[in-house]
Subunit: 193 residues, 2 copies
């Protein structure tokens, strides 16, 4: 039987991870976010031997190598990490119902789980205020950092899934957390589960 | 006081109009769809004198003239119709809370009403089945007609609003009616109103 899984893609700073955690709490199912999946991947059997220091968001990391000529000579570290994370995500979804935030889980699980695919977004202003307030980020030009993050996420998503990130058609439901509020987003997802 | 208005943009065949009507019924507020707005516009005082046979979806109509050189010599019939419909929509929103389907109402009302902006979409397969079943359209290649309609709507929207149609970021909420079902879409909008 395919388990019911909520996958959440989100713009940086939109509160997608918070929404995921709250929904999971309400539904009493586990929530796996990007950091946790990366941690599981690095500790997994798959990872042994070939994962080095790879981080999608590390300086120059993904974008630099994805579009450099290195891939012409075979898979990059990011490709290995993608493959390991893919296996981890498939494994988690097989264990039972859950919420998965990020890591293109919607794409990875399209055949393997009964997914509710979600995209959380918000205005630049809302996200800028939020990352300064909630993440304690420095107040200088948060917009510039957000644009950079958005660009990386879109490129990562596009590269591995060939889907356009942020297009409504790619998701069952897309919500503007800034306009609707975190709690109403949680309520809607609970209702749709 | 700005009235609360639900604006619904939708892919052809996705059930956006049906959802709009059902939500309006539940909330006991009026629902204005494209046809009704066009009718009001044509009967309005604004229209006297200069509206001829204009129809966004008539053969060759909008696309042909929007991108022809005719606009270089001044506004086209579509531009006049746009302006009249704009005034009609502003007038309707001023009268009280309502649902407005289509006609770029989200863009037109962004300063004039307290809007909940909605985008309804669905897979090609769902929409193709639906237009044959519900609209009694002929069974031959509905997908081709849908692609044509989608293209026209996207171009119309892009031309008059300069916003990309179908991007989640443009709406407060985007729903896949095929996956969620018409009734759950109605329930969510009622909840968010």
């Amino acid at each position: 039987m395919k388990h019911r899984v909520i996958t959440i893609s989100r713009e940086f700073g939109s509160g997608g991870r918070t929404i995921g955690k709250k929904v999971a709490e309400t539904l009493q199912i586990p929530c796996y976010d990007s950091e946790l999946i990366q941690k599981i991947a690095q500790e997994s059997d798959f990872a042994e031997g070939y994962v080095k220091e790879v981080d999608e968001s590390s300086k120059g990391g993904f974008l630099a190598s994805a579009f450099s000529s290195s891939r012409a000579f075979g898979p990059t570290n990011e490709d290995y990490l993608w493959e390991i994370q893919r296996k981890v995500i498939l494994g988690l979804a097989e264990q039972g119902p859950c919420v998965i935030v990020g890591r293109c889980a919607d794409y990875i699980l399209q055949e393997a789980a009964d997914c509710l695919t979600v995209f959380i977004h918000a205005s630049m202003q809302y996200r800028a205020d939020r990352i300064v307030r909630e993440y304690g980020e420095r107040q200088e030009s948060p917009e510039q950092r957000l644009r950079e993050k958005d660009k990386r996420r879109a490129a990562y998503h596009r590269f591995y899934t060939d889907m356009k990130w942020g297009y409504a058609q790619n998701y069952h439901v897309s919500l503007n957390s800034g306009e609707l509020g975190i709690d109403r987003c949680v309520e809607i997802l609970r209702l749709l589960y």
